[in-house]
Symmetry: C2
Subunit: 567 residues, 2 copies
């Protein structure tokens, strides 16, 4: 392609609307434009990237027995009412009415419609398993769309749904998809980790998220340097830590005027935060609840919520704290709180001769010991994993990182097939619910994540497999006939060899063309100057490393191909 014919209007200025680097660079590189808040046009260069990602996804789904189809974007309300999600989704779902007043939504996901489809057309075990997928726009009316393609309102997803006879079948489908996803993100040239994750509201028993590692990632992940373990910190299990045993002393009240936070109390009493207990009052589905963790730890509310199986969970108001503990905030402790349910984190229960609030204003207690001085309805893992924690699988060293979620695999079980009455007849003629899984890849998000992971101050650095083009050929001066001809020759040779190449044929200063090349992020740039022409040499610069190489004109194509395979 000649750059003069590509619609890639680059910008010098950093657009004010953009907060994250992928958004800034895609706007500047002429790859996307905003149509409305969270709604974007993918410009030709971005669309090439998306087609490449799509093709990789498609091939890997097909290898695992996926069959591509296309479900409607516009879905009738009735099926969502059947599963109860018409109400659950609330304002996040875009809704509309047709001219006859019938209600529809723009699909945020497709469990309802595909389960209804399979219900209508599958009768027998012989028709299972089925793995059906599509790649299309999804819609979510985010309160605050932001970060460009990272959290849009119209975005491209691949969603596959598996239908199996039983749990064993689901395990097979799940593991095939897990492998397929690993292949997809590897083939895209991305650094990523599949991590154990919380299954949240969508239901189901097991789930992994695929995280592209990038400092700008919204999610915190942790992975083991010694084994395969990796998890979202929302989910990461914490091993019980045991303190060295010592003599248990008797409780003793101390006056701690105005010392409310763990830090204040620890300093005042000359102990470490790890010797203190943090006592937090929550309200779960309108019932108060006390949670005790070690002073240097944080509560993981997802673990708490999953254990409680509650719908609403929030921190108690100061009034409720006072009602539960009898003291103002800052002086709560588990001792003597017999009327309220108490949950204690493993690590907190291990602290010997701990410090905690006395449920009296300006007062704490020393030498508090679990079992002796207070009890709980359960001792369990309730905290966020933190530096110093060891791998829950192999006790190896853990590494913390940030990630962008680009895919998720889910075991749904029979949640939707039960709600929508999607059954089959087994070998013995018995009716059974079909066992389902669902598996999503954020296609447009993957493009953005690739940029978040691969960029520098000058622009994007595309991984070769998803680069819009592989090579840009830049004649220093198109007014120079020799350079123009040499560049044309190089361009034609690469095109003929199947290397996707752009010839920057614009009559612009070389600086402008180099800046655009770096911004757009072609993996390789070939510069054609007077010296190259004179010496019959092709001068290549690697975008990622800045490395410069020279090849003889006679065999440069093979060398370029090698180079593309290597980087």
């Amino acid at each position: 392609m000649r750059f003069s014919e590509v619609f890639a209007p680059t910008l010098r200025e950093v657009p004010a609307e953009a907060e994250v680097v992928s958004h800034k660079l895609m706007l500047r590189a002429g790859m996307m434009r905003k149509a409305a808040s969270g709604v974007y046009t993918y410009m030709p260069l971005a669309w090439r990237v998306l087609k490449k990602i799509t093709q990789i996804v498609r091939e890997e789904m097909d290898i695992k027995g996926g069959q591509e189809l296309m479900l409607p974007i516009m879905q009738p309300a009735e099926i969502w009412q059947e599963t109860g999600r018409w109400d659950v989704y609330g304002d996040e779902m875009f809704r509309l009415k047709d001219r006859h007043g019938r209600e529809f939504c723009l699909g945020p996901t497709h469990e309802e419609i595909i389960t209804t489809l399979v219900k209508g057309d599958v009768r027998s075990y012989r028709q299972l398993p089925l793995r059906l997928y599509q790649i299309q726009n999804k819609y979510r009316d985010e309160i605050r769309p932001r970060f460009g393609l990272m959290r849009g309102r119209e975005f491209i997803m691949k969603d596959l749904y598996s239908f199996d006879r039983d749990e064993a079948g689901l395990d097979t489908s799940y593991s095939k998809m897990y492998d397929a996803y690993t292949q997809v993100f590897s083939r895209c040239g991305l650094q990523f980790r599949p991590v154990e994750a919380d299954s949240g509201a969508i239901g189901g028993s097991s789930t992994h998220e695929f995280m592209v590692l990038a400092e700008s990632g919204e999610a915190a992940v942790v992975y083991c340097l010694d084994c395969d373990y990796a998890a979202n910190t929302e989910k990461a299990e914490c091993l019980p830590v045991s303190d060295p045993k010592t003599t248990l002393l008797s409780m003793e009240e101390v006056v701690t005027p105005e010392q409310r936070t763990i830090e204040q109390v620890a300093e005042f009493l000359r102990v470490t935060p790890a010797q203190c207990l943090k006592t937090l009052v929550y309200v779960a589905d309108e019932k108060p609840l006390v949670v005790v963790i070690r002073g240097d730890h944080e509560v993981n509310e997802i673990k708490l919520k999953n254990y409680l199986k509650c719908i609403q969970l929030e921190m108690a108001s100061p009034e409720t704290v006072e009602m539960v503990t009898g003291a103002p905030m800052g002086f709560a402790g588990p001792v003597g709180l017999v009327k309220t349910r108490i949950l204690v984190d493993h690590a907190a229960a291990e602290v010997q001769n701990a410090v905690c609030g006395a449920n009296k204003s300006g007062t704490h207690i020393l030498n508090v010991n679990y079992g002796q001085d207070y009890k709980a309805s359960a001792v369990l893992d309730l905290r966020e994993i933190t530096t110093g924690d060891r791998c829950p699988r192999c006790s190896g060293e853990l590494k913390f990182a940030r990630g962008i979620e680009v895919g998720q695999v889910f075991k749904l079980g029979i949640k939707y097939s039960k709600a929508l009455d999607c059954k089959y007849l087994d070998e013995t003629g018995k009716e059974k619910p079909i066992v389902m899984g669902c598996y999503g890849i954020g296609v447009s998000r993957t493009m953005a994540a690739a940029i978040e992971q691969n960029n520098d101050a000058n622009g994007i650095i595309w991984p070769v497999p998803i680069a819009p083009y592989h090579v840009v050929v830049v004649p220093v001066s198109v007014k120079d006939q020799l350079q123009r001809e040499f560049a044309e020759k190089v361009y034609q040779a690469l095109q003929a060899a199947g290397v996707e190449t752009v010839l920057d044929d614009r009559d612009e200063r070389p600086g402008v063309k180099f800046k655009d090349a770096d911004l757009i992020g072609y993996p390789l740039r070939i510069t054609v100057g007077a010296k190259c022409v004179a010496e019959n040499v092709v001068e290549v610069k690697v975008r990622r490393t800045g490395e410069e190489l020279k090849f003889e004109l006679v065999d440069f194509v093979a060398n370029i191909k090698d180079l593309l395979n290597k980087i």
Copy 2:
């Protein structure tokens, strides 16, 4: 692919919901399912067909300098309000509001948004021409969605928009697209005609529709057997016909009690309908108007409306007819109607000594002659073309046919660039509006049209280039190990050679499998029976012709490939 693993649930019954053959067959072949009125799921086999059509479209657009991008489906109301189409579109446009109450529509077409995009990013003549296209879902809230994919509410379109410096540029873009469309439908293996069409409400000066010829087509088309002329009958020009000259006689009133229609009058007066004048009263934008055509002709209201440049055109009520002519309906004539504007069709003006109504109940006039006995504000082409008419270009013989519109190319001119202020600076630094064209292909409609054109009582007959698979291999009995192995060998050999093949590995009676093969419409069926196995022969049946061929196993693959190229 093994058929046992394909989600293609075929049906024996003809579904009640389907009116046209493409809809019936796609439902029966397990290729589509209804999600809501006019909203469908494309099942895996149909999706394969759509991907093939899409790929052909994409390649042909790219060859002509098209750049693919992706505009949002969800479009903000503001840009539609700027062009005034937010109101014009009325109930046909799906509208919705986001959580903040902002209005959006689901794009029925994308002139507004792409013109806004180009306006924002194009400054200079050096950035033109641009030909930008996308392939995506479009939305139209039809009053009465019907005919399956022929008139759905969610459907797949390719829409390309051209942006040129001037009319000459537009002519080039238009002619490139005309050629590309010709290539697309040829490569899809369809019989079609590009026909001159009326440009209607979308505006613009020139337009062609691409019609797939099929008896079930909604549109009537006419084409010349001697030259390239072809037109929608809505648009087809009628040559003036000159009657043999005779002596003009004087007018004479005759009593014609209760003889109101042309047929009644002609029979009563023993003349042919062609000797009569049909006088029709219309109301155009609230003004009455008289139209005179020959008794055996029909008014073409599109020609009439285009000439009048009116917004509303309707037949007058009996009261208005009486007010205009002074007589009840059935006795109108142009003679003496001096207060009302009269338009006369060419052919009517040529009739000598004609019969027409006398504007008096139960009375007609004989020997009426244009010019002598009545005059008109214009004599022009106002009628539908009809059998016996000659080609307006070469006077050759015309053929009438029915067609399904699958594509349309349009010269928009500066309609949208003016409304949305989309300009560029020319070589002299002068601001000029960008000259636009738009070009649509109904992708899902093309699939349906292909079926309307290619089917028989047993099912679909896919043209090879868009068939979901090329060959189905049917072992007569999968319980027979030899047959099973032979079929597998044939299947593997074809797959290895890149022939897209389905192996019908189901344990079903051969009749069931043959019926499904015919229904789904694979171009070739290979039947593996005991005799073939014994003789090492591959038995092929051509779906379209029923022709049966036998090839030696040793070189059957090359023969199958030849056969696919031929049919």
